[in-house]
Symmetry: D3
Subunit: 290 residues, 6 copies
């Protein structure tokens, strides 16, 4: 469909109040899932980031790994075992995880953004002692190896980059006081970084439509959740399974002062722009006022 110029202009003008609302604010985006695999989606996300950055939103991107970790481990003959959906990470595997996350996934994203005339810099939790963690202990005593639990975040290095006009792209690894490096859940890392940055908004990109009343029916999207209602939603079984830790991250970051936390469907092209710069909420928003 070819749009007339008048239509194009009106789309831009209609974005005006949203631009005003977000300008100068910090938005932390956890990037993952389908949007990280499909090339078209990936480019759409990067364009969204660049546009937001250009119009004055201060964007930070946090990412985990994905299929690349498993494929590299496979190529190197390192076996992968999962416990409760978490990768059991041996010292040998951790070296690969760090290498892929911080050297491959991270720098590929930076290259993509810079290639589209954006300004990005690739960091990980090791840079400037950004993410300090300790070994994550499971309640059932299972040993996950080098999977970390964040103990503190020093976001000053991220702020420096934002102040200089760069989009920081952050791989979620961290280290403990002994210099051991750990794999860290990217949702959690994004939420904690958002808190430390006193961000306006946290966006967790997923491969689901958002929180659904009936998880098998996309038309039952819940667009607004007051975080005080989350316990009830869990008891009702509406929040369940893999959604629980994601939503916990949202709740926790809102408690620490972030105004809005979204769960957003990464399979929709330009989901971020649509959510942020149009009048339609396409994901689920967690806030204290929802």
């Amino acid at each position: 469909m070819e749009l007339s110029n008048a239509v194009k202009a009106s789309v831009l003008v209609n974005a005006l109040p949203y631009i005003r609302a977000y300008q100068g604010k910090i938005v932390v985006i956890k990037y993952g899932g389908a949007a990280m695999i499909d090339e078209t989606l990936k480019q759409a996300v990067m364009d969204d980031l660049i546009l937001l950055s250009l119009i004055g939103v201060r964007v930070a991107l946090v990412h985990g790994g994905g299929p690349e970790i498993t494929s590299t481990l496979n190529k190197m003959g390192v076996a992968s075992k999962f416990i409760n959906g978490l990768r059991q990470t041996s010292a040998e595997a951790m070296e690969v995880v760090q290498m892929v996350l911080a050297g491959k996934t991270n720098k590929d994203l930076v290259t993509l953004i810079c290639g589209r005339s954006g300004k990005a810099i690739g960091l990980c939790g090791l840079d400037g002692n950004m993410i300090k963690c300790e070994k994550l202990k499971l309640e059932d005593g299972e040993d996950l190896g080098f999977v970390g639990n964040i103990t503190s975040i020093d976001a000053s290095l991220i702020l420096n980059q934002l102040d200089n006009g760069y989009i920081p792209v952050i791989a979620s690894v961290g280290r403990d006081d002994n210099g051991n490096v750990y794999n860290i859940n990217a949702d959690t890392a994004a939420a904690r970084i958002a808190s430390e940055l006193r961000a306006e908004t946290l966006i967790l990109m997923t491969d689901t439509r958002g929180l659904l009343s009936d998880k098998d029916d996309d038309s039952t999207l819940i667009t607004n959740v007051n975080i005080s209602d989350v316990p009830l939603l869990i008891r009702q079984g509406i929040i369940s399974g893999g959604m629980i830790p994601k939503i916990d991250s949202c709740v926790e970051t809102v408690r620490r002062g972030v105004k809005r936390a979204f769960i957003l469907d990464g399979r929709i092209p330009h989901a971020i722009l649509i959510e942020m710069l149009t009048n339609e909420g396409i994901g689920t928003l967690f806030s204290v006022n929802a």
Copy 2:
């Protein structure tokens, strides 16, 4: 027509290279004609300014008066006489011109922008000694009264406002060394201010489609003119009549270092946004490279 969100997002994303190109640059817009009279067009122009300002373009608006001057003169019983299209301005009329331009037209525009959540400040050429002029002398010896010819511009006051994030709205009156106030052609004032501000772009809004090869056929719009071709176009009669002084202003401002000068049709809603943030040029561009 209701647009899908995906379409909206793609309009925004397509504006990206244009935003990048104009960001931080100064654009001076001469506002007048139909766009100043029709309420819908007027609001569209103000929204364009606010959007440009929000995405980091540094916009200054220069305006003359319009029907309001004549109507106020009429109400006050001061006769208006025109010589070669220029208002012969007696001392008594000049008081009214200043009052209407700087007190009515100017502040009404400011109120309109501020009421739409923009940040504007109303100035005139008297503020901070911005526009100094002398009496304009016509070659045929006719006395136009208090019509001024700009002798110097001090744009520092405008820059202060831009630096503080305001859109300066400027009424085109000035004064001479004896404190006499003069009415000044707004096209000329805008062009000179653009030069002094080392603006990237000058836009003169008019009530014509732009420069036409055949002035009776809108489809013959000339979209690009190299300023070195202007003398030929005048000899050929393509540039003629009231277009000559407008285009002279464009040529002069480009010669003084402004990269681009547009003549733009103010009757098209959002003409400014369309020209600046889409891939379609709808006016006539004067530059050294055109």
Copy 3:
């Protein structure tokens, strides 16, 4: 009388402690009355402002209109009616009031200051949303039309100009949330602006000697009033009539943190300099310590 140079030098040296006391401080002056009409007095006031500004006092001037409003209304055939000394302002009259205040009186003052090598900029309450107001409601139910009651002041635009070394000259009109413009009492506007700017001093220029014990005897000037004594002075009838709103403005601004509020006789040439830079108080000072 020709003064010797030694005498001139000693006058300058004697001003030293006063200069020190006011330097870097903000002084808001409400300008009106005789000092606004008589050309010699007017120039003396402007010179006072320029001198204060040059020696480092940060001066803002607030003015209402005067005879020019009435004469313009008359020329345009708009009738003026006064209720309790307040002009009943129809929509039509309000257009004229705005035009005269912001376009004539204001810019003429700016031209006068700039012509004497000062640096001034003319603003009104519409610029940058500076003065927000609502319709003033009289207790007796009379409808004054577009006469406004200030609801909020955003003084950031004034501060910007002071920071850049300009004397802001401010016409006292404002607007409500619907974009209706109102005429505002200049004493009140000056007092509220002084509070918002955390000014050191407010000066209200009037056509009386100050507060007099015996209103018919200029030699009974009261030079200092502790604002806590004002209610008593009203009960005693010493403060009465048109003095009441003026002194209310003084009391209110002192309560909000302005250190000193003066009522000063604008008929005395250089009254401002004399009050501020010599050892003689020629007006009435309202403060908490008086």
Copy 4:
């Protein structure tokens, strides 16, 4: 040997003129070879960097890979072939090279510095479009694959980090305009970065004593070379083999304005501190005044 405090104090005091000479200056260090493999040497280098950084020298570290690339390629079953000492790098190998350099070697160094209370940030030539390159073409037509030849350096991102008090640690990969990533010789990258940063000093760490008159006799170290003498030294065979490109980098960077370029023996613990903060030159200095 236990040193007395007086002796310690005198060592510190004797460093004084050297500290003064380097303070606030930029020093770019190419790190590689033995100093990158031996744990004790590695820690000594990191302590040298931290000390220099603390006393006000602005240090940037550039590194290539080393045995880790080969070992990872081996583990992943990607064959390595060398042509004239340069690794022929297939697309598949390049992915591994990027991953190891930017994700493993780089971040391990950062972790080491941060673990010793230094402040480091890990970057590569892809961040902020820092290193742009094209495919390196060999004269004999052999195809080295993704080995790059630097076309431009944008050092602003490095300067940002230095301004914020961080030691930038930079992996020498870059990209072309099509987004292809290339392996880049770290000596060359360090030399070009030093030029762009207008560094005071370039240090290339190697596994030799420096430039020797008799390459088999360490006692024949040449401590100072005027870059104009390099062609003669090449003709005489004193500069030969692998030394030629290294010394070419030194000559080129000095020509572009870097004051001093050193070839320094990385096998000597604290070689950097000894060269920079004591009276003994232990490497070979290339300069225009040598």
Copy 5:
């Protein structure tokens, strides 16, 4: 004579153009002679400095010693011998000179200014390596001892104090590269400091009326001298004796870019204010345009 307030105000207003002309400019004053001995004159000079400083002139004071040096030398039994009007200064005498100039005269002036609510700081040419000099060699071979000839001035320390709002008071001693301290002619030091500071004005206070056509007749004051006319005036004998070095200092400083150099009669109370802030020139001005 008691002045009316109106007269006081007009004196202040008349100073306005002079204040504007000097504001933000640097004025270096050589203080000496009668104005340094008579208590009333001394206080008048200090008040002049404080007033100038308050109204935004950036004032630096340079002084030599005076009777205090001789009296202290006498008390300590150190003999004084003069050659061509210059004190022959032994090492022992130099210690006393430094002590008196930098410890007594200098700090007494500072105390006087601070006691009158000014802000002063006492420096000498030894602070921050401000004045470097060498032994002054007389043409006739006579040895003056520790009398210095300025080789370089580093005025950055003075500028720091001016930037912080202090009046630097500077004793004219300096040192050579071996740490020997020298007595330096204060006229010369003031002139050189004025040049280095790119001052607007140099004022040398003396005990004469200025340059006189007839040295015995004060009414023959020459108020303006173009420095190109100085050689002629010397040949004519109008400039002679002790005036020659003073006027040489004026000529030299004007050649180096200082706009105006005055010789001013320190015996007239407030001579500085009168010269700078009134319409009467009471000294002799040396300039290129005079």
Copy 6:
């Protein structure tokens, strides 16, 4: 003993944690006693100051006079009388004290530092009204003359110099509100200045080993004292005689927020560096945590 470069490097590296701890912090040093008389010790102290300053410690030096005062008084035939170890200071003697302290001792130290490429500026308590005092009254009614008791410190002038990278060298004289100048105990002045500057550390240099359990046995040095234990130590007689006022100064400054106060043996070359940059404490530290 000739140290190997490796040893030198390790000394430097071992200073690293101490440099980090003191960097950017303010250290006030009271300089006196043997370290002020012996030329070698004096130069060692100056080198310590310059090194500390270079590596980012912000050092201020406070000094009293010493033998120079007595010798100058003797030369000038002014008798010296001591009461309880304090010099009874007549008006005549005070002039000499000021002159020697501020003009001789102070400027000689500045010359020494500047001659060794440091950046120093000599101040006294009179500059910028830094030290205000009143006449010290002894309990036994004895009149000490112009010996002062500090009433207030304005350290802004010192901070200005530190901010500009200079070492302020401060002579301990001050003045009262009447302009009378007083001699002030340098230990007390240093302690009060340290408090006002919110210094990290105060160092009082003395001619004893520190606080000794047995004052006749240097091996009984007490290295750490919690200030709450001082009253007990006085009752036990361990703190006695001339140590009491020194330690009172330490206690008082720690109470006012200075973290550490040292009494340090000025007879040990480089005592300051050894105490601050090595692992051995050679003096007595007073703190709240000791």
